[in-house]
């Protein structure tokens, strides 16, 4: 009985391996799988929607999935894409290190991956990595923050999710500018994991210890929204808040005189570029472009906020 079971398991494993290998040879489907973080954040919702629209306009079928910043869930989505023999994967990934394995697995199965927004710490396995120039954007945000602060005063920094290089690079860009001004003093620096509610809660407790802050610089817009809400609730609406992303929420906040500035990442443009490159790669076997590509960010303040809509400046 025991031996029979072992044989059964081995045969099952063997046939699965053969089946998986057989798939490699199979004709590619017409499916583009689009994987992003949760659509709760309008940034990810926009890039997923734009990627989907672009793919459909080029004649592809689409499957849109969210990994919710969980690398294991992302792994399952990559498995789904491999099992469906997808023509390409467009992915805003769940971690610069944790994603390497998934992209490699897809490559080995003959499925090209096109990364948008976030990069991974390895080259040569994804076909394209189209990343906003977060450093250039953070320098813009940092310079504007310094100007708004009048080059002096106490401030708080809210940092993004640790697994994302964008959290590191934005903080680094901010500090490269701000730290050169001796009059500016950071009194608290905490991660709110890109989350609005977490930023609200962290800001509330930071304000208890530091009721005299003059500014808050945030790694993204959702955290800036959370911080602004906490400041308004504490009757401190005059505190200078600067975000990063260029969402419609922050646009409205700037126009209402609350948040002072943000940095627009051209999420929609990047998503279009990724799908167009995927299309070219599927048809010709090459994108004709370097793997790693940067797109510049644009400073948004009261002077141009009205022209901003769905991550595009009109």
């Amino acid at each position: 009985m025991g031996k029979k079971l072992v044989v059964f398991v081995l045969v099952a494993l063997l046939s699965f391996t053969l089946f998986a290998q057989g798939q490699k040879e199979a004709v590619k489907s017409n499916l583009i799988v689009i994987i992003t973080p949760s659509h709760d954040n309008p940034f990810f919702k926009t890039e997923a929607l734009v990627a989907e629209e672009t793919a459909k306009s080029l004649g592809y079928e689409t499957l849109v999935l969210s990994h919710d910043d969980d690398a294991n869930k992302q792994d399952q989505h990559f498995d789904t894409a491999i099992a469906s023999n997808a023509a390409a994967i467009i992915c805003d990934n769940a971690g610069a290190d944790a994603t390497i394995g998934a992209v490699r697995k897809a490559k080995e199965a003959g499925i090209p991956t096109f990364l948008i927004d976030r990069e991974i710490n390895e080259t040569g396995i994804a076909v394209s990595q189209i990343v906003s120039n977060n450093y250039q954007g953070a320098l813009l945000g940092g310079e504007k923050f310094v100007e708004l602060m009048g080059e002096s005063g106490k401030y708080v920094e809210l940092v993004g999710k640790e697994s994302d290089t964008n959290a590191g690079i934005r903080s680094k860009g901010y500090h490269e500018i701000i730290d050169q001004y001796p009059g500016l003093r950071m009194v608290a620096r905490q991660s709110a994991n890109w989350s609005q509610t977490e930023a609200f809660e962290k800001m509330e407790s930071i304000l208890q210890a530091n009721p005299d802050i003059k500014g808050v610089i945030s790694g993204n817009d959702t955290m800036a929204m959370g911080a602004m809400a906490a400041l308004n609730a504490a009757g401190m609406g005059e505190v200078i808040v600067v975000g990063f992303d260029g969402s419609n929420d922050v646009r409205d906040s700037i126009l209402a005189g609350d948040i002072k500035a943000t940095v627009l990442q051209t999420a929609a443009t990047n998503a279009i570029m990724a799908v167009e490159q995927a299309d070219k790669y599927i048809k010709t076997g090459s994108t004709g472009l370097p793997e790693k590509q940067l797109t510049d960010c644009i400073l948004i303040d009261e002077s141009n906020a009205a022209r901003l809509d769905n991550f595009m400046l009109k």
Partner: protein
């Protein structure tokens, strides 16, 4: 039965491993800036200070000397046909980036502005329009990444991530602060002529010309003006 148990055990262990995701520790806690702030993914595998010191004399200065356009001529070309001039004389590494130009010249100083830590020499170029101020960064804060962006051999594709690519610009700017703009002192006054070699990025919709210098000196001879 024993065989079955062992096989099952192996299968379970393999399954466990297969479902795990191994996350490399980035070791960022060891790497802090002067204020004790550490950044995710920052590590010591790439030494930007050494990189910049290695390229400065032989590559940066050589390329700037060989490829610099006369500022006055370039500005006049930009005025007559902006798009063609940008494409012909500008450098950009990405399709949607603004163009950066390598320039040289000698002009009178109109003002030495130290109101901000990002100090500026305002140049006296009378035939420029009022809006298009022409300045040279004199620090101590050096803004933007113009010098890195003017050097075509420094490609994002050659580096592990944005952090390394960013570190190059930071170190170039620090190098300029410590070795280039450090020549500017109280004796520099309006009316004196300054010679320079540098780069500026022309942003869409802006006429501002802010040059980041790689070489700078007072000049007693004639100016380009």
């Amino acid at each position: 039965m024993k065989l079955l148990r062992n096989t099952c055990l192996i299968l379970i262990i393999s399954a466990l491993f297969m479902s795990c995701t191994f996350v490399k520790h980035d070791g960022s806690s060891k790497n802090k800036n002067n204020d004790g702030v550490s950044f995710y993914f920052e590590d010591e595998s790439f030494d930007a200070v050494e990189y910049v010191h290695d390229i400065w004399d032989d590559r940066v200065l050589t390329i700037f000397e060989e490829e610099a356009y006369d500022l006055k001529e370039l500005l006049s070309l930009l005025r007559t046909d902006t798009e063609t001039t940008k494409k012909k004389y500008g450098i950009r590494k990405e399709e949607l980036s603004p163009y950066t130009f390598i320039v040289s010249g000698t002009f009178p100083i109109y003002e030495v502005n130290r109101d901000s830590s990002a100090g500026l020499l305002v140049l006296d170029l009378p035939d420029l329009s009022q809006e298009s101020n022409c300045t040279i960064q004199i620090g101590p804060v050096i803004k933007k990444s113009m010098v890195r962006d003017a050097l075509e051999f420094i490609k994002f594709d050659d580096f592990n991530n944005q952090i390394e690519f960013a570190n190059i610009s930071r170190e170039i700017n620090f190098y300029i602060r410590d070795n280039v703009v450090s020549v500017v002192n109280e004796s520099w006054e309006p009316g004196m002529n300054v010679s320079f070699l540098g780069a500026f990025t022309l942003y869409d919709g802006s006429e501002e010309i802010m040059i980041t210098p790689v070489w700078l000196e007072l000049n007693n001879g004639e100016s380009d003006e």
